[in-house]
Protein backbone atom coordinates (compact mmCIF):
# COMPACT_ATOMS: atom_id res chain seq x y z
CA UNK A 1 0.00 0.00 0.00
CA UNK A 2 3.01 2.27 0.49
CA UNK A 3 3.29 3.06 -3.13
CA UNK A 4 5.99 5.55 -3.99
CA UNK A 5 5.26 7.33 -7.23
CA UNK A 6 8.10 7.28 -9.73
CA UNK A 7 9.31 10.63 -10.96
CA UNK A 8 7.47 12.05 -13.93
CA UNK A 9 4.36 9.96 -13.35
CA UNK A 10 1.03 11.75 -13.02
CA UNK A 11 1.02 11.29 -9.27
CA UNK A 12 4.33 13.10 -8.92
CA UNK A 13 3.15 15.85 -11.26
CA UNK A 14 0.27 16.57 -8.93
CA UNK A 15 2.67 17.40 -6.14
CA UNK A 16 4.75 19.60 -8.38
CA UNK A 17 3.75 23.25 -8.73
CA UNK A 18 0.91 23.99 -11.12
CA UNK A 19 1.82 22.74 -14.56
CA UNK A 20 1.53 24.91 -17.59
CA UNK A 21 -1.05 23.50 -19.98
CA UNK A 22 0.71 21.11 -22.30
CA UNK A 23 0.90 21.92 -25.98
CA UNK A 24 -1.95 24.42 -25.95
CA UNK A 25 -4.32 21.85 -24.45
CA UNK A 26 -6.51 22.89 -21.57
CA UNK A 27 -8.19 20.78 -19.01
CA UNK A 28 -5.59 19.42 -16.60
CA UNK A 29 -7.18 18.22 -13.38
CA UNK A 30 -5.20 18.08 -10.16
CA UNK A 31 -6.74 16.00 -7.44
CA UNK A 32 -4.92 16.45 -4.15
CA UNK A 33 -5.59 14.70 -0.84
CA UNK A 34 -9.29 14.37 -1.56
CA UNK A 35 -11.37 12.72 1.14
CA UNK A 36 -15.05 11.99 0.86
CA UNK A 37 -17.06 10.67 3.75
CA UNK A 38 -20.74 9.92 3.25
CA UNK A 39 -23.00 10.52 6.18
CA UNK A 40 -21.87 12.16 9.38
CA UNK A 41 -18.22 12.44 10.30
CA UNK A 42 -17.13 9.49 12.39
CA UNK A 43 -20.07 7.22 11.64
CA UNK A 44 -19.95 7.87 7.92
CA UNK A 45 -18.69 5.69 5.11
CA UNK A 46 -15.28 6.66 3.81
CA UNK A 47 -15.66 6.44 0.02
CA UNK A 48 -12.50 8.26 -1.05
CA UNK A 49 -9.44 8.53 1.15
CA UNK A 50 -6.48 10.85 0.63
CA UNK A 51 -6.67 10.51 -3.10
CA UNK A 52 -3.99 12.31 -5.10
CA UNK A 53 -3.32 12.15 -8.80
CA UNK A 54 -3.10 14.26 -11.89
CA UNK A 55 -5.12 14.11 -15.09
CA UNK A 56 -2.90 15.67 -17.74
CA UNK A 57 -4.42 18.01 -20.30
CA UNK A 58 -5.25 16.62 -23.72
CA UNK A 59 -4.72 13.04 -22.62
CA UNK A 60 -6.96 10.12 -21.84
CA UNK A 61 -6.75 9.08 -18.21
CA UNK A 62 -8.61 5.93 -17.31
CA UNK A 63 -9.50 5.12 -13.74
CA UNK A 64 -9.95 1.40 -13.04
CA UNK A 65 -11.35 -0.12 -9.89
CA UNK A 66 -13.83 -2.66 -8.67
CA UNK A 67 -17.52 -1.78 -8.76
CA UNK A 68 -18.56 0.47 -5.91
CA UNK A 69 -15.01 1.43 -5.02
CA UNK A 70 -15.71 5.14 -5.04
CA UNK A 71 -14.49 6.14 -8.49
CA UNK A 72 -17.87 7.58 -9.42
CA UNK A 73 -17.76 9.63 -6.21
CA UNK A 74 -14.57 11.19 -7.50
CA UNK A 75 -16.13 11.92 -10.86
CA UNK A 76 -19.19 13.45 -9.20
CA UNK A 77 -16.92 15.72 -7.19
CA UNK A 78 -15.16 16.94 -10.33
CA UNK A 79 -18.46 17.43 -12.15
CA UNK A 80 -19.95 19.30 -9.19
CA UNK A 81 -22.73 16.89 -8.29
CA UNK A 82 -21.30 16.05 -4.87
CA UNK A 83 -19.26 17.85 -2.26
CA UNK A 84 -15.93 16.61 -0.93
CA UNK A 85 -15.03 16.38 2.75
CA UNK A 86 -11.48 17.68 2.40
CA UNK A 87 -8.68 18.11 -0.12
CA UNK A 88 -8.64 20.15 -3.31
CA UNK A 89 -9.50 19.65 -6.96
CA UNK A 90 -8.15 22.11 -9.52
CA UNK A 91 -9.05 22.47 -13.17
CA UNK A 92 -6.02 24.08 -14.80
CA UNK A 93 -5.30 26.84 -12.28
CA UNK A 94 -8.84 27.36 -11.04
CA UNK A 95 -10.03 25.80 -7.82
CA UNK A 96 -13.09 23.63 -8.45
CA UNK A 97 -13.60 22.57 -4.88
CA UNK A 98 -11.53 22.70 -1.74
CA UNK A 99 -11.47 24.35 1.66
CA UNK A 100 -14.40 26.74 2.06
CA UNK A 101 -15.94 25.52 -1.15
CA UNK A 102 -16.97 21.90 -0.72
CA UNK A 103 -18.93 21.61 -3.96
CA UNK A 104 -17.93 22.69 -7.46
CA UNK A 105 -20.48 24.36 -9.75
CA UNK A 106 -21.45 22.11 -12.64
CA UNK A 107 -20.71 23.76 -15.94
CA UNK A 108 -20.06 23.22 -19.63
CA UNK A 109 -16.27 23.10 -19.20
CA UNK A 110 -16.62 19.61 -17.65
CA UNK A 111 -19.29 17.49 -19.26
CA UNK A 112 -20.33 14.08 -18.02
CA UNK A 113 -21.41 11.18 -20.20
CA UNK A 114 -23.48 9.00 -17.94
CA UNK A 115 -23.41 5.27 -17.33
CA UNK A 116 -26.96 4.75 -18.50
CA UNK A 117 -26.99 7.65 -20.92
CA UNK A 118 -28.81 10.91 -20.35
CA UNK A 119 -30.03 12.09 -23.72
CA UNK A 120 -33.38 13.77 -23.11
CA UNK A 121 -35.93 11.29 -24.43
CA UNK A 122 -38.40 14.11 -25.15
CA UNK A 123 -36.05 15.94 -27.49
CA UNK A 124 -35.01 14.80 -30.94
CA UNK A 125 -31.36 13.93 -31.57
CA UNK A 126 -30.59 17.30 -33.12
CA UNK A 127 -32.44 19.16 -30.34
CA UNK A 128 -30.39 17.23 -27.80
CA UNK A 129 -27.10 18.09 -29.46
CA UNK A 130 -28.05 21.76 -29.83
CA UNK A 131 -29.21 22.02 -26.20
CA UNK A 132 -25.98 23.27 -24.59
CA UNK A 133 -25.23 26.37 -26.68
CA UNK A 134 -28.93 27.34 -26.66
CA UNK A 135 -29.42 27.29 -22.89
CA UNK A 136 -26.09 29.01 -22.37
CA UNK A 137 -27.22 31.71 -24.78
CA UNK A 138 -23.96 31.24 -26.67
CA UNK A 139 -25.56 30.59 -30.05
CA UNK A 140 -28.90 31.46 -31.57
CA UNK A 141 -31.34 28.59 -32.05
CA UNK A 142 -30.65 28.55 -35.75
CA UNK A 143 -26.87 28.62 -35.44
CA UNK A 144 -26.94 25.94 -32.74
CA UNK A 145 -29.02 23.63 -34.91
CA UNK A 146 -26.69 24.21 -37.82
CA UNK A 147 -23.64 23.39 -35.73
CA UNK A 148 -25.41 20.36 -34.28
CA UNK A 149 -26.13 19.05 -37.77
CA UNK A 150 -22.49 19.48 -38.72
CA UNK A 151 -21.42 17.74 -35.55
CA UNK A 152 -23.71 14.80 -36.27
CA UNK A 153 -22.57 14.58 -39.87
CA UNK A 154 -18.98 14.43 -38.67
CA UNK A 155 -19.79 11.37 -36.58
CA UNK A 156 -21.84 9.77 -39.36
CA UNK A 157 -25.10 10.25 -37.48
CA UNK A 158 -26.68 12.88 -39.71
CA UNK A 159 -29.61 10.71 -40.80
CA UNK A 160 -30.81 10.33 -37.23
CA UNK A 161 -31.42 14.03 -36.62
CA UNK A 162 -35.19 13.94 -36.36
CA UNK A 163 -35.37 10.67 -34.44
CA UNK A 164 -35.97 10.50 -30.74
CA UNK A 165 -33.34 8.78 -28.55
CA UNK A 166 -35.75 5.92 -27.85
CA UNK A 167 -35.70 5.04 -31.52
CA UNK A 168 -31.96 4.46 -31.95
CA UNK A 169 -29.59 1.84 -30.57
CA UNK A 170 -27.81 2.36 -27.27
CA UNK A 171 -24.44 2.51 -29.03
CA UNK A 172 -25.73 5.34 -31.20
CA UNK A 173 -27.09 7.10 -28.15
CA UNK A 174 -23.64 7.13 -26.54
CA UNK A 175 -22.12 8.64 -29.65
CA UNK A 176 -24.83 11.29 -29.81
CA UNK A 177 -24.21 12.05 -26.16
CA UNK A 178 -20.51 12.58 -26.80
CA UNK A 179 -21.37 14.83 -29.74
CA UNK A 180 -23.74 16.77 -27.46
CA UNK A 181 -20.88 17.25 -25.00
CA UNK A 182 -18.35 18.31 -27.65
CA UNK A 183 -20.77 20.95 -28.97
CA UNK A 184 -19.76 23.03 -25.95
CA UNK A 185 -15.99 22.80 -26.48
CA UNK A 186 -15.49 21.40 -22.99
CA UNK A 187 -12.07 21.27 -21.39
CA UNK A 188 -12.76 17.84 -19.97
CA UNK A 189 -15.04 14.96 -20.83
CA UNK A 190 -15.96 12.87 -17.82
CA UNK A 191 -17.09 9.41 -18.88
CA UNK A 192 -18.66 7.24 -16.23
CA UNK A 193 -18.52 3.66 -17.53
CA UNK A 194 -20.36 4.76 -20.62
CA UNK A 195 -20.07 1.43 -22.42
CA UNK A 196 -20.94 -0.79 -19.51
CA UNK A 197 -24.37 -1.72 -20.78
CA UNK A 198 -23.18 -2.50 -24.31
CA UNK A 199 -22.31 -5.92 -25.69
CA UNK A 200 -18.63 -6.53 -26.39
CA UNK A 201 -18.93 -6.22 -30.18
CA UNK A 202 -20.65 -2.83 -29.98
CA UNK A 203 -18.14 -1.86 -27.32
CA UNK A 204 -15.20 -2.39 -29.65
CA UNK A 205 -16.84 -0.20 -32.29
CA UNK A 206 -17.49 2.45 -29.64
CA UNK A 207 -13.87 2.37 -28.47
CA UNK A 208 -12.54 3.10 -31.91
CA UNK A 209 -15.13 5.81 -32.43
CA UNK A 210 -14.12 7.41 -29.14
CA UNK A 211 -10.43 7.34 -30.05
CA UNK A 212 -11.26 8.84 -33.42
CA UNK A 213 -13.20 11.62 -31.71
CA UNK A 214 -10.32 12.17 -29.34
CA UNK A 215 -7.84 12.44 -32.20
CA UNK A 216 -10.01 15.10 -33.80
CA UNK A 217 -10.67 17.15 -30.65
CA UNK A 218 -7.80 16.50 -28.25
CA UNK A 219 -10.08 17.09 -25.33
CA UNK A 220 -8.96 15.82 -21.92
CA UNK A 221 -10.78 12.60 -21.13
CA UNK A 222 -11.38 11.24 -17.66
CA UNK A 223 -12.75 7.75 -18.14
CA UNK A 224 -14.03 5.41 -15.47
CA UNK A 225 -14.30 1.69 -15.99
CA UNK A 226 -13.84 -1.65 -14.26
CA UNK A 227 -12.60 -3.28 -17.45
CA UNK A 228 -8.80 -3.41 -17.47
CA UNK A 229 -8.50 -4.22 -21.16
CA UNK A 230 -10.68 -1.26 -22.04
CA UNK A 231 -8.54 0.91 -19.78
CA UNK A 232 -5.23 -0.03 -21.35
CA UNK A 233 -6.62 0.11 -24.87
CA UNK A 234 -7.96 3.65 -24.44
CA UNK A 235 -5.72 5.34 -21.92
CA UNK A 236 -2.50 7.28 -21.99
CA UNK A 237 -2.53 6.79 -18.26
CA UNK A 238 -4.29 4.12 -16.27
CA UNK A 239 -4.93 4.76 -12.60
CA UNK A 240 -5.73 1.59 -10.69
CA UNK A 241 -7.76 2.27 -7.58
CA UNK A 242 -7.95 0.42 -4.31
CA UNK A 243 -11.36 -0.73 -3.21
CA UNK A 244 -13.22 1.34 -0.62
CA UNK A 245 -11.89 3.74 0.45
CA UNK A 246 -10.70 4.66 -3.01
CA UNK A 247 -7.12 5.77 -3.54
CA UNK A 248 -4.62 5.23 -6.40
CA UNK A 249 -2.85 1.91 -5.99
CA UNK A 250 -0.80 1.86 -9.16
CA UNK A 251 -0.42 4.28 -12.01
CA UNK A 252 0.55 3.05 -15.42
CA UNK A 253 1.66 5.06 -18.41
CA UNK A 254 0.69 3.20 -21.56
CA UNK A 255 3.39 3.82 -24.07
CA UNK A 256 1.51 2.78 -27.17
CA UNK A 257 1.24 5.63 -29.66
CA UNK A 258 -2.11 7.13 -30.64
CA UNK A 259 -4.01 6.81 -32.93
CA UNK A 260 -4.60 3.24 -31.85
CA UNK A 261 -6.84 0.70 -33.45
CA UNK A 262 -7.87 -2.79 -32.61
CA UNK A 263 -4.66 -4.40 -33.79
CA UNK A 264 -3.20 -3.09 -30.54
CA UNK A 265 -5.18 -5.67 -28.61
CA UNK A 266 -3.01 -8.48 -29.91
CA UNK A 267 0.28 -6.58 -29.66
CA UNK A 268 2.93 -7.96 -27.35
CA UNK A 269 3.30 -4.62 -25.57
CA UNK A 270 -0.42 -4.55 -24.76
CA UNK A 271 -0.27 -8.02 -23.26
CA UNK A 272 2.69 -7.00 -21.14
CA UNK A 273 0.76 -4.04 -19.72
CA UNK A 274 -2.10 -6.35 -18.93
CA UNK A 275 0.18 -8.84 -17.18
CA UNK A 276 1.74 -6.03 -15.22
CA UNK A 277 -1.55 -4.75 -13.87
CA UNK A 278 -3.94 -7.64 -13.79
CA UNK A 279 -2.66 -8.83 -10.44
CA UNK A 280 -3.16 -5.46 -8.77
CA UNK A 281 -6.69 -5.21 -10.08
CA UNK A 282 -7.53 -8.76 -9.14
CA UNK A 283 -6.25 -8.21 -5.63
CA UNK A 284 -8.60 -5.25 -5.18
CA UNK A 285 -11.47 -7.15 -6.74
CA UNK A 286 -10.96 -9.92 -4.17
CA UNK A 287 -10.94 -7.40 -1.35
CA UNK A 288 -14.08 -5.78 -2.68
CA UNK A 289 -15.71 -9.18 -2.96
CA UNK A 290 -14.74 -10.09 0.57
CA UNK A 291 -16.12 -6.80 1.82
CA UNK A 292 -19.37 -7.74 0.16
CA UNK A 293 -19.52 -4.69 -2.05
CA UNK A 294 -22.71 -4.87 -4.03
CA UNK A 295 -22.69 -4.51 -7.82
CA UNK A 296 -23.84 -1.03 -8.57
Amino acid sequence: MNYEPPRGSPIADARAPALAAQGGCKGAIRIANVVKIYGSEGAGVRAVDDCTFHVPAGKITVVVGPSGCGKTTLLNAIAGFHSITSGTIHLDDALLCGPGRPKADPGPDRIVVFQNGALFPWKTIVENVAFGPIVQGRLSRKAAFEKARMMLAETGLHNLETNYPGEISSGMRRRVEIARALMNDPKVLLLDEPYRALDSLTKSVMHEALLETFDRNRVTIFFITHDLEEAIFLGHHVVIMTTRPCRPKKILTVDIPHPRDYSVLTAKRFREYLDETVEAVHEEALKAFAAGERER
Binding site: A79, G80, F81, P106, G107, P108, R110, I111, V112, F114, N116, G117, A118, F120, P121, W122, K123, T124, F131, G132, V135, Q136, R138, T155, G156, L157, N159, L160, T162, N163, Y164, G166, E167, I168, S169, G171, M172, R180, A181, N184, T202, V205, E208, A209, E212, D261
Partner: protein, 299 residues
Protein backbone atom coordinates in the same frame (compact mmCIF):
# COMPACT_ATOMS: atom_id res chain seq x y z
CA UNK B 1 -11.79 2.23 -42.60
CA UNK B 2 -12.90 5.13 -40.54
CA UNK B 3 -15.60 6.15 -42.94
CA UNK B 4 -16.90 2.62 -43.19
CA UNK B 5 -16.83 2.33 -39.45
CA UNK B 6 -18.68 5.57 -38.96
CA UNK B 7 -21.28 4.66 -41.54
CA UNK B 8 -21.60 0.98 -40.78
CA UNK B 9 -23.85 0.79 -37.75
CA UNK B 10 -25.68 3.93 -38.82
CA UNK B 11 -26.66 2.39 -42.10
CA UNK B 12 -28.10 -0.64 -40.38
CA UNK B 13 -30.34 1.36 -38.12
CA UNK B 14 -30.96 4.33 -40.35
CA UNK B 15 -34.49 5.65 -40.51
CA UNK B 16 -34.07 8.20 -43.23
CA UNK B 17 -37.48 9.84 -43.00
CA UNK B 18 -39.80 10.80 -40.25
CA UNK B 19 -42.24 8.14 -41.37
CA UNK B 20 -45.62 8.53 -43.03
CA UNK B 21 -47.98 11.41 -42.32
CA UNK B 22 -50.27 11.33 -39.35
CA UNK B 23 -53.45 10.75 -41.35
CA UNK B 24 -51.93 7.97 -43.43
CA UNK B 25 -50.53 6.24 -40.40
CA UNK B 26 -53.81 6.37 -38.51
CA UNK B 27 -55.64 4.96 -41.53
CA UNK B 28 -53.03 2.22 -41.67
CA UNK B 29 -53.41 1.54 -37.97
CA UNK B 30 -57.19 1.31 -38.39
CA UNK B 31 -56.78 -1.26 -41.17
CA UNK B 32 -54.33 -3.20 -39.02
CA UNK B 33 -56.76 -3.14 -36.14
CA UNK B 34 -59.60 -4.48 -38.30
CA UNK B 35 -57.36 -7.26 -39.53
CA UNK B 36 -56.38 -8.31 -35.99
CA UNK B 37 -58.73 -10.38 -33.82
CA UNK B 38 -59.13 -7.56 -31.31
CA UNK B 39 -62.29 -5.82 -32.61
CA UNK B 40 -64.08 -9.14 -32.97
CA UNK B 41 -63.13 -10.27 -29.49
CA UNK B 42 -64.45 -6.95 -28.25
CA UNK B 43 -67.77 -7.53 -30.02
CA UNK B 44 -67.99 -11.02 -28.54
CA UNK B 45 -67.33 -9.52 -25.11
CA UNK B 46 -70.22 -7.09 -25.48
CA UNK B 47 -72.47 -9.83 -26.84
CA UNK B 48 -71.68 -12.06 -23.88
CA UNK B 49 -72.43 -9.26 -21.44
CA UNK B 50 -75.77 -8.43 -23.08
CA UNK B 51 -76.59 -12.12 -23.33
CA UNK B 52 -75.94 -12.60 -19.62
CA UNK B 53 -78.12 -9.62 -18.79
CA UNK B 54 -80.87 -10.91 -21.10
CA UNK B 55 -80.78 -14.44 -19.69
CA UNK B 56 -80.75 -13.50 -16.01
CA UNK B 57 -83.49 -10.89 -16.26
CA UNK B 58 -85.76 -11.90 -19.10
CA UNK B 59 -85.33 -15.65 -19.55
CA UNK B 60 -84.49 -17.12 -16.14
CA UNK B 61 -86.10 -14.25 -14.22
CA UNK B 62 -83.80 -14.75 -11.24
CA UNK B 63 -85.28 -13.31 -8.01
CA UNK B 64 -82.27 -11.04 -7.46
CA UNK B 65 -82.95 -9.31 -10.76
CA UNK B 66 -86.74 -9.25 -10.59
CA UNK B 67 -86.93 -5.45 -10.32
CA UNK B 68 -84.32 -4.83 -12.96
CA UNK B 69 -85.30 -3.87 -16.49
CA UNK B 70 -84.00 -6.25 -19.15
CA UNK B 71 -81.99 -5.17 -22.17
CA UNK B 72 -85.04 -5.36 -24.42
CA UNK B 73 -86.98 -2.95 -22.22
CA UNK B 74 -84.04 -0.56 -21.97
CA UNK B 75 -83.18 -0.60 -25.65
CA UNK B 76 -86.77 -0.24 -26.87
CA UNK B 77 -87.24 2.67 -24.48
CA UNK B 78 -83.95 4.20 -25.57
CA UNK B 79 -84.77 4.19 -29.30
CA UNK B 80 -88.47 4.88 -28.88
CA UNK B 81 -89.55 8.14 -30.60
CA UNK B 82 -92.41 8.23 -28.13
CA UNK B 83 -90.88 7.02 -24.85
CA UNK B 84 -93.08 5.54 -22.13
CA UNK B 85 -91.21 7.31 -19.32
CA UNK B 86 -90.56 10.45 -21.28
CA UNK B 87 -86.86 10.08 -22.15
CA UNK B 88 -85.11 8.56 -25.18
CA UNK B 89 -82.69 9.37 -27.99
CA UNK B 90 -85.46 11.50 -29.48
CA UNK B 91 -86.08 13.77 -26.52
CA UNK B 92 -84.11 17.03 -26.38
CA UNK B 93 -84.06 16.70 -22.60
CA UNK B 94 -81.74 13.69 -22.92
CA UNK B 95 -79.10 15.81 -24.61
CA UNK B 96 -79.57 18.57 -22.10
CA UNK B 97 -78.73 16.11 -19.31
CA UNK B 98 -75.62 15.00 -21.17
CA UNK B 99 -74.55 18.55 -21.95
CA UNK B 100 -75.03 19.83 -18.41
CA UNK B 101 -73.01 16.96 -16.93
CA UNK B 102 -70.27 17.22 -19.54
CA UNK B 103 -69.99 20.95 -19.00
CA UNK B 104 -69.62 20.49 -15.24
CA UNK B 105 -66.99 17.81 -15.72
CA UNK B 106 -65.08 19.93 -18.22
CA UNK B 107 -65.05 22.99 -15.98
CA UNK B 108 -64.02 20.96 -12.94
CA UNK B 109 -61.40 19.05 -14.94
CA UNK B 110 -59.88 22.21 -16.39
CA UNK B 111 -59.80 23.85 -12.96
CA UNK B 112 -58.20 20.75 -11.46
CA UNK B 113 -55.59 20.65 -14.24
CA UNK B 114 -54.82 24.35 -14.01
CA UNK B 115 -54.23 24.12 -10.26
CA UNK B 116 -53.11 20.50 -9.82
CA UNK B 117 -50.33 20.43 -12.42
CA UNK B 118 -48.48 23.54 -11.15
CA UNK B 119 -48.95 22.44 -7.54
CA UNK B 120 -47.67 18.95 -8.32
CA UNK B 121 -44.67 20.33 -10.20
CA UNK B 122 -43.81 22.54 -7.24
CA UNK B 123 -44.27 19.72 -4.75
CA UNK B 124 -41.91 17.52 -6.73
CA UNK B 125 -39.40 20.25 -7.47
CA UNK B 126 -39.01 21.95 -4.10
CA UNK B 127 -38.44 19.84 -1.02
CA UNK B 128 -39.11 22.81 1.25
CA UNK B 129 -42.48 23.50 -0.36
CA UNK B 130 -43.38 19.84 -0.09
CA UNK B 131 -42.60 19.83 3.60
CA UNK B 132 -45.09 22.67 4.14
CA UNK B 133 -47.88 21.53 1.92
CA UNK B 134 -47.83 17.79 1.50
CA UNK B 135 -48.90 16.72 5.02
CA UNK B 136 -52.00 18.93 4.76
CA UNK B 137 -52.67 17.57 1.30
CA UNK B 138 -52.38 13.99 2.47
CA UNK B 139 -54.75 14.65 5.34
CA UNK B 140 -57.42 16.16 3.10
CA UNK B 141 -57.08 13.58 0.35
CA UNK B 142 -58.77 10.60 2.03
CA UNK B 143 -61.92 12.65 2.75
CA UNK B 144 -64.34 11.40 0.07
CA UNK B 145 -66.26 13.97 -2.03
CA UNK B 146 -69.53 12.83 -0.47
CA UNK B 147 -68.29 13.96 2.93
CA UNK B 148 -67.74 17.41 1.46
CA UNK B 149 -71.36 17.74 0.32
CA UNK B 150 -72.74 19.61 3.34
CA UNK B 151 -69.79 21.96 3.48
CA UNK B 152 -69.98 22.57 -0.27
CA UNK B 153 -73.65 23.53 0.05
CA UNK B 154 -72.91 25.86 2.96
CA UNK B 155 -69.90 27.44 1.24
CA UNK B 156 -71.28 27.98 -2.24
CA UNK B 157 -74.61 29.41 -3.23
CA UNK B 158 -76.86 28.06 -5.91
CA UNK B 159 -76.73 24.52 -7.17
CA UNK B 160 -74.07 24.78 -9.86
CA UNK B 161 -70.96 25.81 -7.91
CA UNK B 162 -71.25 23.17 -5.15
CA UNK B 163 -71.47 20.43 -7.79
CA UNK B 164 -68.48 21.78 -9.70
CA UNK B 165 -66.54 22.06 -6.45
CA UNK B 166 -67.29 18.44 -5.54
CA UNK B 167 -66.36 17.28 -9.03
CA UNK B 168 -63.17 19.28 -8.88
CA UNK B 169 -61.94 17.81 -5.59
CA UNK B 170 -61.14 14.24 -6.57
CA UNK B 171 -59.71 15.34 -9.93
CA UNK B 172 -57.46 17.82 -8.21
CA UNK B 173 -56.00 15.18 -5.88
CA UNK B 174 -55.37 12.72 -8.72
CA UNK B 175 -53.72 15.33 -10.93
CA UNK B 176 -51.55 16.82 -8.19
CA UNK B 177 -50.36 13.50 -6.85
CA UNK B 178 -49.49 12.07 -10.25
CA UNK B 179 -47.68 15.22 -11.32
CA UNK B 180 -45.62 15.14 -8.15
CA UNK B 181 -44.77 11.48 -8.65
CA UNK B 182 -43.90 12.32 -12.24
CA UNK B 183 -41.32 14.86 -11.15
CA UNK B 184 -39.92 12.47 -8.59
CA UNK B 185 -39.66 9.71 -11.18
CA UNK B 186 -37.28 11.73 -13.36
CA UNK B 187 -33.83 10.13 -13.52
CA UNK B 188 -31.41 12.43 -11.71
CA UNK B 189 -28.98 11.99 -14.63
CA UNK B 190 -31.21 14.15 -16.83
CA UNK B 191 -31.11 16.99 -14.32
CA UNK B 192 -27.37 16.64 -13.90
CA UNK B 193 -26.81 16.49 -17.64
CA UNK B 194 -28.78 19.70 -18.09
CA UNK B 195 -26.70 21.49 -15.43
CA UNK B 196 -23.53 20.13 -17.03
CA UNK B 197 -24.59 21.56 -20.36
CA UNK B 198 -24.93 24.98 -18.76
CA UNK B 199 -28.65 25.19 -18.01
CA UNK B 200 -29.84 27.46 -15.22
CA UNK B 201 -32.32 26.26 -12.61
CA UNK B 202 -35.25 27.79 -14.46
CA UNK B 203 -34.19 26.19 -17.73
CA UNK B 204 -33.85 22.81 -16.04
CA UNK B 205 -37.43 23.23 -14.86
CA UNK B 206 -38.82 23.93 -18.32
CA UNK B 207 -36.56 21.61 -20.35
CA UNK B 208 -36.29 18.65 -18.00
CA UNK B 209 -38.81 18.69 -15.17
CA UNK B 210 -41.92 19.58 -17.14
CA UNK B 211 -41.42 17.26 -20.14
CA UNK B 212 -39.98 14.55 -17.90
CA UNK B 213 -43.10 14.53 -15.74
CA UNK B 214 -45.41 14.63 -18.75
CA UNK B 215 -46.14 10.86 -19.01
CA UNK B 216 -47.18 10.77 -15.36
CA UNK B 217 -49.16 14.00 -15.74
CA UNK B 218 -51.21 12.49 -18.53
CA UNK B 219 -51.78 9.30 -16.59
CA UNK B 220 -53.00 11.58 -13.82
CA UNK B 221 -55.28 13.49 -16.17
CA UNK B 222 -56.88 10.27 -17.40
CA UNK B 223 -57.56 9.21 -13.84
CA UNK B 224 -58.71 12.74 -13.10
CA UNK B 225 -61.38 12.68 -15.83
CA UNK B 226 -62.56 9.31 -14.57
CA UNK B 227 -62.93 10.38 -10.96
CA UNK B 228 -64.55 13.65 -12.07
CA UNK B 229 -67.49 11.64 -13.41
CA UNK B 230 -67.50 9.68 -10.16
CA UNK B 231 -67.89 12.65 -7.90
CA UNK B 232 -70.09 14.53 -10.36
CA UNK B 233 -72.80 11.93 -9.93
CA UNK B 234 -72.47 12.16 -6.18
CA UNK B 235 -72.96 15.92 -6.43
CA UNK B 236 -75.82 15.74 -8.90
CA UNK B 237 -77.70 13.24 -6.81
CA UNK B 238 -77.76 15.75 -3.99
CA UNK B 239 -78.72 18.90 -5.80
CA UNK B 240 -79.39 20.30 -9.26
CA UNK B 241 -82.14 19.91 -11.82
CA UNK B 242 -80.23 18.50 -14.72
CA UNK B 243 -77.39 16.15 -15.34
CA UNK B 244 -77.03 12.38 -15.70
CA UNK B 245 -76.60 11.83 -11.97
CA UNK B 246 -79.80 13.77 -11.35
CA UNK B 247 -81.54 11.76 -14.09
CA UNK B 248 -80.51 8.45 -12.53
CA UNK B 249 -81.59 9.54 -9.09
CA UNK B 250 -84.99 10.94 -10.11
CA UNK B 251 -85.80 7.97 -12.34
CA UNK B 252 -85.09 5.81 -9.32
CA UNK B 253 -87.40 7.74 -7.02
CA UNK B 254 -90.09 7.84 -9.68
CA UNK B 255 -89.71 4.10 -10.40
CA UNK B 256 -88.75 4.70 -14.04
CA UNK B 257 -86.16 1.94 -14.07
CA UNK B 258 -85.44 1.74 -17.82
CA UNK B 259 -84.66 5.47 -17.84
CA UNK B 260 -82.36 4.93 -14.88
CA UNK B 261 -80.40 2.30 -16.81
CA UNK B 262 -80.30 4.53 -19.90
CA UNK B 263 -78.71 7.20 -17.71
CA UNK B 264 -76.14 4.73 -16.42
CA UNK B 265 -75.14 3.45 -19.85
CA UNK B 266 -74.91 7.00 -21.18
CA UNK B 267 -72.66 7.90 -18.29
CA UNK B 268 -70.40 4.99 -19.20
CA UNK B 269 -70.20 6.06 -22.84
CA UNK B 270 -69.61 9.76 -22.19
CA UNK B 271 -67.03 8.94 -19.50
CA UNK B 272 -65.19 6.67 -21.89
CA UNK B 273 -65.16 9.29 -24.64
CA UNK B 274 -63.73 12.02 -22.39
CA UNK B 275 -61.03 9.74 -21.05
CA UNK B 276 -60.12 8.60 -24.58
CA UNK B 277 -59.91 12.25 -25.65
CA UNK B 278 -57.36 12.92 -22.90
CA UNK B 279 -55.35 9.91 -24.01
CA UNK B 280 -55.34 11.06 -27.65
CA UNK B 281 -54.23 14.54 -26.60
CA UNK B 282 -51.44 13.00 -24.50
CA UNK B 283 -50.17 10.92 -27.41
CA UNK B 284 -50.30 13.95 -29.64
CA UNK B 285 -48.27 16.05 -27.21
CA UNK B 286 -45.80 13.27 -26.46
CA UNK B 287 -44.75 12.08 -29.89
CA UNK B 288 -41.45 10.93 -28.43
CA UNK B 289 -43.22 8.60 -26.06
CA UNK B 290 -45.66 7.27 -28.63
CA UNK B 291 -42.80 6.51 -31.00
CA UNK B 292 -40.69 4.95 -28.27
CA UNK B 293 -43.55 2.66 -27.29
CA UNK B 294 -44.18 1.82 -30.93
CA UNK B 295 -40.51 0.79 -31.26
CA UNK B 296 -40.87 -1.42 -28.23
CA UNK B 297 -43.92 -3.11 -29.71
CA UNK B 298 -42.10 -3.82 -32.95
CA UNK B 299 -38.92 -5.14 -31.39
Amino acid sequence: MNVALAQGPTAVLAKPERGPGRLESSAYRMAQWLRSPRPYLMLIGFALFLGFWYLTVEVWKLPRFSQMPGPTAVITEWINPDPIYGLSLYSPEYYQHIWVSTRRVLIAFLLATATGVPLGLLLGWSLRFKEYVFPVFELLRPIPPLAWVPLAIIMFHGSETPIIFLTFLASFYATTLNTMLGVESIDVSFVRAAYCLGAKRRQVFWHVIVPGAMPFIFTGLQISVGVAWFSLVAGEMVSGQYGLGYLINTSYTMVQYPTMVIGMITLGIVGYVTSAAVRVLGNYLMQWRARELAMGAEA
